[in-house]
């Protein structure tokens, strides 16, 4: 039997969605304004701001660097986070709560403090490897997100299914890939998405650790806003919104997992 949804509920959800989406439409409209400065509503129509942004090597370089950084950080966070989450949820370890608290502490300490502390540490170590510093810094703040979401999945794994598979003669690697993996996959994917987004959007850690050769998108956006508040900023914002939409579509179509399922 299918439950009917109240028209009132539909209306309320519609209004909420409108409130959420409306601010995203504003930069899209401002980005097509044919003026040397940002105006709303837009005046005239032009796509030249998109052309300028896409042709700008600084913008392209920052965007590609952020993608590379976020992808590497996500891979490392998953490599460290999945075994860590499995260990913390499936076994009793001495000092388990302390370990968990330590791992999650970057979520509690203000990121700007974490950033300056990391810069001090790297300086004392004599490190000049900016890219490595950024990877470490971003991994520190992304790892808690991976561990939280993957841990939640491991907690919900039905141990009876594992026992049943083992009793039926399935070796451990088959139990892991055919029984456990399908149950934890959504949590891992959610952790990967969070990790990627947190790294891609990070400003406070990058502000301390980046340099002119390693300049992520959020820092670039800040400098562009200071340079000139023209519609090219709205064009960059619009491209980032479109990129996020594309990411959602890829996740849904390629991985076959809806965001609604991840959120549930």
């Amino acid at each position: 039997m299918t439950a009917t949804v109240s028209p009132w509920l539909k209306a309320i959800v519609g209004v909420i969605l409108l409130i959420v989406v409306a601010p995203l439409v504003v930069p899209l409209l401002m980005s097509i304004s044919d003026t040397a400065y940002i105006v709303f509503p837009p005046r005239g129509f032009t796509l030249k701001w998109y052309g300028e942004v896409l042709a700008n090597p600084e913008a392209r370089g920052s965007f590609l660097f952020s993608l590379e950084l976020a992808a590497i950080v996500t891979a490392i966070s998953l490599a460290l986070g999945i075994p860590c989450a499995a260990g913390l949820t499936r076994y009793r370890l001495p000092g388990q709560d302390a370990i968990l608290g330590l791992i999650l502490s970057p979520l509690i300490v203000p990121l700007i403090v974490t950033g300056v502390a990391l810069l001090q540490l790297f300086s004392l170590l004599g490190s000049r490897a900016t890219f490595a510093q950024l990877i470490i810094g971003h991994t520190v703040i992304c790892l808690p997100y991976v561990i939280r979401s993957v841990s939640a999945s491991f907690v919900l794994v039905d141990r009876n299914l594992e026992d049943a598979a083992a009793i039926m003669g399935a070796p451990p690697h088959v139990v892991a890939t055919r029984v456990i993996w399908p149950q934890v996959r959504p949590g891992i994917l959610a952790g990967a998405i969070f990790s990627f987004i947190v790294s891609f959007d990070d400003y406070p850690i990058s502000m301390w650790l980046a340099d002119g050769d390693h300049f992520p998108v959020p820092l670039y956006l800040y400098t562009v806003i200071e340079r000139s508040f023209d519609p090219s900023i709205a064009a960059i914002s619009s491209l980032m919104i479109l990129f996020a939409l594309l990411l959602v579509l890829v996740i849904e179509k390629v991985f076959g997992i809806s965001l609604a399922r991840l959120a549930s």
């Binding site: 940002i38 300056v116 300086s123 004599g126 002119g212 400098t223 340079r227 000139s228 508040f229």
Partner: protein
């Protein structure tokens, strides 16, 4: 008689260039392969430094300059965090931070003998040898061109401006200029004396609250909002954030009330014990050379701190230059050592007044 053909002339030219190039490179050969990291500002100034000044310098010195865009407080924070093992060699900061950096041992005195371009620096922009100004902006009111600005700051406290003003956030340096204005209006004294009486002027500061629509911490964004008519007047901001829009045709410009204006001095400092100090000093010297200063000023609409630069009348509309013009406009530079010692307390009071 030898006839010089086009081919002969070409060969001679190539030969001369070939002979001259090694001279240029040998003069700077000590810098070949060296690298320094510098912290610069964002904004149009940062853009010009990255795209024009650095590539030419790297070519002339066969070196590498890694520039990181930031702002004064962050740049000081980076110097503090890396004090024991400096990562940066040159930092661009505002004059407000120079006394702090000097006191904390973050910066070194400039080696005058290695910086011939210092000869043209106006003495007031030398900071006793602990840095040099690179660009001078004028801080004043910015307003929509359809609005007639008042000729005195005092008028901004009047009821006709209720809800029509944008005020600079206490986070930003020009908020100190606003406090000095409030103190000057309350005491009737000039800025030079009023700056020491800010503590007693917060009731005057509070009186303007009804006229303030909101606080801003991003100058270009605030200028853009005033251009769109979202507010009539903004106070106070540096000309380098407003005039680029004026020059583009946006309906926003600046005005300078009769009480006087403020100098916003963007400076460079030499990081103490930073890597490759010789290259750092050469870069700082390059920043002060006349050709660089002229192009830099014309791009960012700021006045150079050195004498002898010629500008067109069109450019001079936006600059307070030369030094006689700065004096004529009453450009005032606060006593930053006194200001810095009190600023955090004043910021708290400002936050208390303007908190929603």
């Amino acid at each position: 008689m030898t006839v010089m053909t086009r081919r002969t002339f070409g060969k001679l030219t190539l030969g001369a260039a070939g002979l001259a190039a090694p001279l240029v490179y040998s003069r700077n050969s000590w810098a070949a392969g060296k690298q320094i990291q510098i912290g610069i500002w964002g904004g149009s100034q940062g853009e010009f430094v990255k795209k024009r000044i650095i590539p030419a310098f790297e070519k002339d010195f066969d070196c590498r300059i890694v520039a990181e865009e930031g702002f004064t407080l962050a740049n000081v924070g980076k110097m503090r965090a890396t004090k024991d093992n400096p990562k940066f060699s040159v930092m661009f900061i505002d004059d407000v931070a120079i006394p702090i950096c000097k006191q904390e041992g973050l910066i070194a005195e400039l080696p005058k003998s290695d910086m011939p371009a210092l000869a043209n620096l106006y003495p007031r922009f030398g900071f006793d040898g602990w840095g040099s100004a690179l660009a001078i902006s004028v801080a004043g009111l910015f307003h929509n061109t359809e609005v007639t600005p008042p000729d005195s700051y005092a008028a901004l406290w009047g009821p006709e401006y209720a809800g029509k003003l944008k005020l600079v956030s206490p986070k930003n340096t020009p908020s100190v200029f606003f406090l000095i204005v409030a103190a000057a209006l309350k005491t009737g004294k000039p800025f030079a004396e009023a700056q020491y009486q800010i503590d007693g002027a917060f009731d005057k500061v509070a009186e303007i609250k009804a006229n303030v629509q909101n606080l801003f911490d991003n100058g270009p964004q605030a200028a853009n909002e005033v251009a769109q008519g979202q507010a009539d007047i903004g106070l106070l901001e540096l000309s380098k954030y407003v005039y680029p829009y004026t020059a583009k045709g946006a309906p926003v410009t600046m005005s300078f009330p009769k009480e006087g204006s403020f100098a916003g001095n963007n400076c460079q400092v030499l990081v103490k014990n930073g890597p490759n100090q010789d290259l750092a000093v050469a870069f700082m010297n390059r920043m002060l050379e006349p050709a660089v200063q002229k192009a830099f000023s014309e791009y960012a609409f700021t006045a150079p701190p050195v004498s002898g630069i010629e500008f067109s009348n069109e450019t001079l509309k936006y600059l307070a230059y030369p030094v006689e013009e700065m004096d004529k406009r009453g450009l005032f530079t606060p006593d930053w050592e006194f200001i810095n010692a009190n600023r955090s307390a004043w910021t708290e009071k400002m936050n208390g007044i303007f908190a929603v």
